[in-house]
Amino acid sequence: MEAMSSTIELLPALSPVVENTVVDVEAETERYTGTSESTATDVPWVVLVWNDPVNLMSYVSYVFQSYFGYPEAKANTLMLQVHQQGKSVVSSGTREEAERDTQAMHSFGLWATFRKADQA
């Protein structure tokens, strides 16, 4: 399952590798990280931030500048999109990157979700 890919890579360290002396590194990597699946398509993942009446406009802009390192003008444009259009795509990348950014937005108290870029 794709959603597990970010944690499954932790498992090799915990499981004893005793049976096979010859390890097919590529196959193992693929098995543990699911890379074949994620590289099979070039469609990136995106992170959306949704509007809410609580987070201050200054705070949202600050989060975009300090976490993503966006210049002030870009951060303000994205913040206004969230505020006026209800949502904005704030970052894109691999699924792992999208998950990490989503979690970071949640830790700042912003409501973010991630999805494949080609989903309506």
Partner: protein, 188 residues
Amino acid sequence: MAKAFRKTRKGIAGELERAERDLVRRLFEDVISMLERTAAADEDPLAALVGLDTNAARPEDSALLRLLPDGVKDDDGESLEFRRLTERSLREDKVAALRAGALLLEQNPLLLTPEQAQLLARAINDVRLVLADRLDIETDEDAQALHEIDDWSQAEDLQTYLALVYNFMTWLQESLMQSLLAGLRQPE
């Protein structure tokens, strides 16, 4: 009355009265207990070690759900999966910021580095999210209407009191943000 935060050459300075600091600290502690109360007591130690939470479930309390929101829209299965992978560390992250915020408020007057100010801002924000849920703030108009309430002598019922506290936290947060944004524009 507290003085608004401002950027100085030594750091971000602010001043709160004792009663205000006590109030804010108590609010931080309330949110910490919300976040910790629901954490599973009997959990798989191996899962805990790698940061997993196999028992994670969507919070029933709407305020807690606002602190720990769904990561995927319109897909309960994917959302739950994400929650199991990330909710534990999200809780820990939030509790850490709230604790740091409470600790920072022990000094007066306050003099904060940008990193400390960010921790305090995250803590204040989580308190505002919880208060907003209790006050049923759902639209920008709700927030605007609430903003008008600013007379502490009117604090006769719980809702008015919560609204006054919410507005105080908003005021603190806004001045903290202006100081942090000024620092980003003009780093020392």
